[in-house]
């Protein structure tokens, strides 16, 4: 097992290098606008643009730019400076990370607390009225675009513009350390909106897995032992059905930590996703690269954790 982890870590590093290189290549080959011109701003003269171009090192040959980029990245973890405000990208991202983590963690709790019980209840009474309603609702949850859901939520419940003044409106986010109450209030709507699609998806998955598991021979054995039905369903059935779901949840968290762009934008939460969106709109190359790399990092790490966790969850899996 230890050997496996070492090997995976080595590969993770390789993956990160590859992602960085690809990111650089993509942005170098398909720029949306001339970065130097962007930096120069409105009153740009050609000379100013040329000066900036030189200052940014954009007049150097490709491979040299790439080398400098990778060196900075690898040795100093330096992601460059944002074109917008000349602040180090790394600093910007770290500043925004707490908000994204708050959003992700909360949404995760909500979608698991809703999705799993709904899935279980549907599975133990398949094709019943409750099951059909739940799965129908799940279909809606999966189909509804998250930004639409977000806007509807704001329209109904936001404290400033909503029909019912319940929760914080867009832009009302405050950090946890600053004002816990306000933090919760501002995040409730985003949590539920972001969780909606996931809860629906997980409910369907739990239902499907559990129905399959309940048909297995060891469930029959559990009943033959005289165990109460609840224990059979939860301890024997759900335990087996959840193993693949836990791993998927890990991956989803990894993806979300890279920034739930749509949700953060609709609710104006100052997270990494919002930052990514703004950077794209402004063609802020270093910032875009930074968010992409961060996203990749989280996904790679999440993958590794999930694979290792699987060996603990299912003793038949051995590395």
């Amino acid at each position: 097992m230890a050997r496996y982890i070492v090997r995976r870590l080595a590969w993770a590093v390789v993956m990160l290098v590859v992602v960085s290189a690809l990111t650089f290549l993509i942005f170098y080959t398909f720029p949306s606008a001339d970065p130097a011109a962007l930096r120069a701003g409105r009153q740009a003269t050609p000379q100013l643009i040329e000066q900036i171009r030189h200052a940014l090192g954009l007049d150097k040959p490709v491979y040299e730019q790439f080398f400098i980029y990778m060196k900075n990245l690898g040795l100093h973890f330096d992601l460059g400076y944002s074109y917008q405000n000349n602040v180090p990208v790394r600093q910007e991202i770290f500043a925004r990370l707490p908000a994204t983590i708050s959003l992700t963690a909360g949404a995760f709790v909500v979608w698991m607390l809703i999705g799993i019980p709904v899935g279980v209840l549907s599975a133990i009474r398949p094709r019943s009225v409750g099951d059909r309603v739940a799965m129908g609702g799940a279909l809606v949850g999966i189909s509804a675009p998250v930004y639409w859901l977000g806007l509807v939520a704001l329209f109904l419940f936001a404290s400033d513009i909503g029909k019912v003044h319940l929760f914080g409106g867009a832009g009302s986010y405050v950090p946890l350390t600053q004002d816990p109450g306000g933090w919760v209030k501002s995040l409730i709507l985003p949590w539920f909106v972001l969780a909606a699609a996931f809860a629906a998806f997980y409910a369907r998955m739990v239902r499907g897995n559990l129905i399959e598991v309940m048909g297995e021979d060891y469930i029959r054995t559990a009943r033959a032992k005289g165990l109460p039905e609840r224990r059979v369903i939860l301890r024997h059935g759900l335990r087996a059905a959840l193993t693949p779901i836990v791993t998927i949840a890990g991956l989803d968290i990894g993806i979300l930590l890279g920034g739930a762009v749509l949700t953060e934008t609709v609710f104006n939460i100052p997270g990494v996703g919002r930052f990514a969106y703004d950077s794209i709109v402004n063609s802020d190359l270093p910032a875009i690269q930074g968010t992409v790399l961060f996203g990749a990092l989280f996904i790679i790490v999440a993958n590794l954790i999930v694979d290792i966790a699987y060996a603990f969850l299912d003793p038949r899996v051995r590395y």
Binding site: E216, D217, Y218, R220, T221, A222, R223, A224, K225, G226, L227, P228, E229, R231, H236, R239, A240, T243, L313, D314, P315, R316
Partner: protein, 339 residues
């Protein structure tokens, strides 16, 4: 003396997409303490469904179960699910064919045995674990203290089946139902497991219901045999009688069609013609009549009843007793003559 487990006119049918499957169609039999009842039949005979119905494992939304299953005076079919749970395990235990799929793959075998104890008795975890280890020792698992923490997939087939037996017998049930317990095992392991069941039965006076398709296994273990076909018992009696003087054409067919080690090699086997019947649209009258070499007109219209032919020997066939005995005399495998 009343039997320990007494089944009366059990009928089980399932509503499926293809129609109503009549899995068990009027089965009556019984088993006494310390004795082994063998249920023999092929797939679709209803033997497994009969066993599952005894402990209520066929109580499904699409199933209809009727009849009586008297266990120590109580009709199990009328018991509520909760009360049935206290019967399963401590009073009637069941083991299944494939121990790899019948044991939970994600829990250690010791834990699974402990769980059976803890569900029915108020003991500490430590006491339950000690008893689990004892149970594993009783089924002759080497190194029980070490194997108790293994997962099912880490054990061999024979060890897994022993673990299942340990789990079933740890609460000293009155009845053990074994559904094809050795079919998935190698023949030498099968011999060990059958021997184990026999000795445990001897020690604890357990009644055993052994379900199998293998007449050899029946010969080794059973005291009473019930031969099942298409949901009905076609012949029942003491093992010696059934092996030496069977009186039903299906039983003859089964015994004729299997190659055996104790009779001379024959040129060809004598298979039963035709194919197993549909359980949705079973044949009218005697279910076996389409495949019976001795079929008579009345077999197509009248259900034969299980009637006593000899003391304790019951046969469901329209052929007259004398005729049946005559036919068997001709069919029976003869011992070898000098070559």
């Amino acid at each position: 003396m009343a039997a320990l487990l007494d089944i009366h006119d059990l009928r089980v049918s399932f509503q499926t997409r293809d129609g109503v499957v009549h899995a068990v169609d009027g089965v009556s039999t019984s088993v006494d303490r310390g004795k082994t009842l063998g249920l023999v039949g092929e797939s679709g005979s209803g033997k497994s469904v009969t066993a599952l119905s005894v402990i209520g494992l066929t109580r499904l939304p699409n199933a209809e179960v009727s009849g009586q299953v008297l266990f120590d005076g109580t009709d199990l079919l009328q018991l509520s699910s909760e009360r049935l749970q206290s019967v399963r395990g401590p009073r009637i235990a069941m083991i299944f064919q494939d121990p790899l799929s019948s044991l939970h793959p994600l829990y250690r075998v010791g834990w699974q045995i402990e769980e059976a104890i803890l569900a029915h008795e108020q003991v500490s975890r430590r006491a339950a674990r000690a008893r689990a280890v004892d149970a594993m020792r009783a089924v002759e698992m080497p190194n029980p203290a070490e194997l108790v923490d293994r997962y099912p997939h880490e054990l061999s087939g024979g060890m897994r089946q022993r673990a299942m037996i340990a789990m079933a017998l740890v609460l000293n049930p009155d009845v053990l139902i074994a559904d094809e317990p050795t079919t998935a095992l190698d023949v030498t392991v099968q011999a060990q497991i059958l021997e184990l069941i026999r000795s445990l039965q001897h020690d604890f006076d357990t009644a055993v219901v052994l379900i199998t398709h293998d007449f050899g296994v029946i010969a080794e273990t059973a005291d009473e045999v019930a031969v099942m076909y298409a949901g009905r018992i076609v012949e029942q009696g003491p093992i010696d009688t059934i092996l030496e003087a069977p009186e039903h054409p299906y039983t003859w067919g089964l015994l004729q069609s299997i190659p055996r080690l104790d009779t001379p090699r024959r040129d060809r086997l004598e298979p039963i013609t035709g194919t197993p019947p549909s359980l949705v649209y079973p044949p009218t009258g005697c279910h076996f009549h389409p495949r019976c070499p001795y079929v008579m007109p009345m077999c197509r219209t009248m259900d034969p009843e299980l009637l006593q032919s000899d003391p304790g020997h019951f046969v469901a066939c329209h052929l007259p007793v004398a005729e049946r005995r005559r036919i068997w005399q001709e069919l029976r495998p003869k011992p070898a003559e000098a070559a």
